[in-house]
């Protein structure tokens, strides 16, 4: 389930890269705001249905819930994953390095749905199992990439930093982390993009989020509901992903000029 960053992007050289996040975000807001008024268009999809506009909850509140769950999970995963990876690359934690690296790469093979499904029996229905499943699953790409990034830092560079009189903490903060930042950021992007998608599946275990209209639409055979949920969630994913792409570009240009 790896979602690697590649250098190919939608943006062509004559369009500034900042346009894409703004464009997706604008479309997202237009969807949230516009669907309740777009009954005519939605009616064309489902001429016979009783209702075509999703009324059980406003899309804005669903979006808020979705973002809340994903950001709480992201916060925990980023802090936890990076701390774990930093800990096992220090002198004292080095014993744990092979095990953690192996588990992080093995864990990538676990399907998110299976992780979500296994979290429910242990934790019950609702928002909590979703957050736990997202944390479990999202930590792995971050651990893996932080490990990879830190290990790629040249040994000579670290030695010269120590020789300059830097403390281990300074080496970590001023040398290792900045050099590993692009790889770590790629891991964060993977983790969050997957989590936005997985959180939507969480609607099946009783969490209220953007997956709701899709599930309701599939259950009732109402295409209009599906379109509302699917478009909103796709636009959310594209907005966040393009934001990260922009962030990576900024980081790359800063690193190359520094």
């Amino acid at each position: 389930m790896s979602h690697r960053v590649s250098s190919f992007s939608l943006s062509s050289p004559n369009v500034p890269a900042a346009v894409w996040p703004a464009l997706w975000c604008l479309l997202l807001v237009a969807c949230i705001w516009g669907f309740p008024y777009a009954e005519g268009v939605l009616r064309m999809l489902e001429p016979d249905a009783k209702e075509v506009v999703y009324h059980r909850a406003s899309l804005a509140s669903l979006l808020g819930h979705h973002l809340l769950v994903v950001s709480v999970a992201a916060l925990i995963t980023i802090v936890g994953g990076m701390l774990a990876a930093i800990a096992v690359t220090r002198e004292r934690g080095r014993d744990f390095l092979p095990l953690v690296a192996q588990v992080a790469s093995l864990g990538q093979t676990f399907p998110p749905v299976a992780v979500l499904a296994l979290a429910v029996p242990a934790l019950g229905f609702g928002t909590l199992p979703i957050i736990v499943a997202l944390v479990l699953y999202g930590t792995l790409p971050i651990v893996r990439n932080t490990l990879g990034g830190l290990q790629e830092v040249d040994k000579e560079v670290k030695s010269s930093a120590i020789a300059m009189g830097m403390t281990p903490w300074q080496v970590l903060r001023q040398v290792e982390l900045p050099l590993a930042a692009p790889v770590i950021l790629a891991g964060v992007r993977t983790s969050i993009t997957i989590n936005i998608s997985t959180a939507a599946i969480g609607a099946t275990v009783g969490a209220r989020n953007l997956g709701d209209p899709i599930i309701a639409g599939i259950v009732n055979g109402n295409m209009a509901y599906i379109v509302q949920g699917a478009l909103t969630i796709a636009l959310l994913a594209l907005t966040v992903d393009s934001l990260f792409e922009r962030l990576q570009e900024l980081l790359r240009s800063r690193l190359s000029t520094a």
Binding site: D95, V113, A114, A117, V120, G229, A230
Partner: protein
């Protein structure tokens, strides 16, 4: 040699003592888990959540003593690690793995009386913790001992055989087994559907991916836009893509009766297959592209010098050399497809995911497990199998795995 290594180091005697802290940590975690949490739980029927039972209630003093002493032995071995000690520790871990199903049998005899035939035995928190920590120990020992792949496979098979024998012979009360026996025909059909969907979608994406890559190599203008579109597709959440497939396919099936006679409709295998292929194309094309590009130009030049024609050079030199990286793409795609097919159950494509979503709908957790565990095992098996195949096909000198770190 760096400056640091040349500096004299203070030698303190207790510094020389290097226990294996990983094994000690894992063993202590196991001890804490089995003594603090419930090992099993017994429920009178399918929906009611069970009543937990601790280690002593479940397997008695003797069993508890046995398990604890094996784990304590692991700690003792980890204090003074040696190759021999690791081998003994591996035997200990295997012993525990083999004892676990017998523990369940003992627990079902002790806790379930004959007059409650429908009672179900569930594995508790401690049981799952013990299992996962044991697997972590296994991974650690395998890394320390540098076990060969064939030994690993053999031992895993042996443990799996004992577990399945126990499950069929002496564990009528186990909830997962009861759930399976209640719908075994359904289970095998779901498994078949799942595997068929994965295999067909991966096969299609190999074919499409290879031809797209060849087109991209011929018309380089295509490359940028093709990758952009594939990246774009990958970003859309799976549930959204599956949902969006419903409408157009339902419309197509309504327009052309021939299609609906073939079984194409908004619900079912057709939208699932299209979405799966759409998702599979990016990892497939990316790895195929990298694989074909990384073949060294010198080798190709040598092939030309030997008088090979263009097509010969492609089929006899470039493709075989690219095969390991190409297989890496197939591995990523397959593992991803196994997980996504589970989501496809939501749009009526069947497969093991249907157990997950039905179970979630009925709040029947055993049914959820019946879907989720085989999916997990399928993914792990596909990953290990295709990884091994790629290793076998890899040329000896080239051990680098491109695309390993994102």
């Amino acid at each position: 040699m760096s400056l640091l290594e040349a500096l004299p180091r203070p030698q303190v005697s207790w510094r020389q003592w290097q226990p294996n802290s990983v094994l000690i940590f894992l063993a202590c975690a196991m001890l804490a888990a089995i003594w603090l949490f419930d090992v099993v739980s017994v429920a009178p029927n399918r929906i009611v959540s069970g009543e937990g039972a601790g280690l002593i209630d479940a397997v008695g003093w003797l069993g508890a003593l046995l398990v604890t002493s094996v784990i304590v032995t692991l700690v003792a071995l980890a204090l003074q690690p040696s190759r021999h000690g690791y081998q003994v520790a591996l035997v200990g871990v295997l012993l525990l793995l083999l004892l676990m199903p017998f523990g369940l049998m003992v627990a079902s005899n002790r806790l379930i009386s004959g007059d409650t035939p429908g009672a179900r035995l569930n594995m508790g928190m401690a049981y799952w913790c013990l299992l996962s920590f044991l697997l972590l120990c296994w991974v650690e020992l395998r890394l320390r001992l540098v076990l060969l792949r064939r030994w690993t496979i053999l031992l895993v098979l042996a443990v799996g055989l004992v577990w399945s024998l126990c499950a069929t012979l002496g564990l009528e009360a186990l909830a997962l087994g009861q759930e399976f026996r209640a719908r075994d025909a359904q289970f095998w059909r779901a498994l078949r559907e799942h595997i068929t969907l994965v295999v067909v979608s991966v096969a299609i994406s190999i074919g499409l991916g290879l031809s797209l890559t060849l087109l991209m190599r011929r018309y380089s203008k295509l490359q940028k836009s093709a990758f952009a579109i594939l990246n774009f597709l990958q970003t859309i959440p799976s549930i959204a893509l599956f949902g969006l497939m419903l409408g157009p396919l339902a419309w197509l099936a309504a327009q052309w009766p021939l299609l609906s006679q073939l079984g194409v409709s908004g619900i079912g295998w057709a939208p699932a297959l299209i979405a799966l292929v759409a998702y599979s194309l990016l990892p497939m094309v990316r790895n195929t592209y990298i694989a074909l590009e990384q073949v060294s130009p010198d080798t190709l030049e040598a092939a030309r010098g030997m008088g090979m024609r263009n097509s010969q050079r492609f089929w006899q030199v470039r493709l075989p050399l690219a095969l390991p990286v190409l297989l890496e793409g197939v591995r990523i795609t397959t593992v991803q497809a196994i997980g996504l097919t589970a989501v496809a159950a939501l749009i009526g494509a069947g497969g093991l995911g249907s157990f997950i979503f039905q179970g979630l709908g009925q709040a029947a957790m055993d049914m959820v497990l019946l879907g989720a565990l085989p999916i997990l095992m399928l993914a792990l098996m596909a990953d290990a199998g295709l990884g091994a195949l790629a290793d076998v096909l890899r040329p000896r000198s080239d051990t680098a795995r491109p695309g390993e770190i994102e």
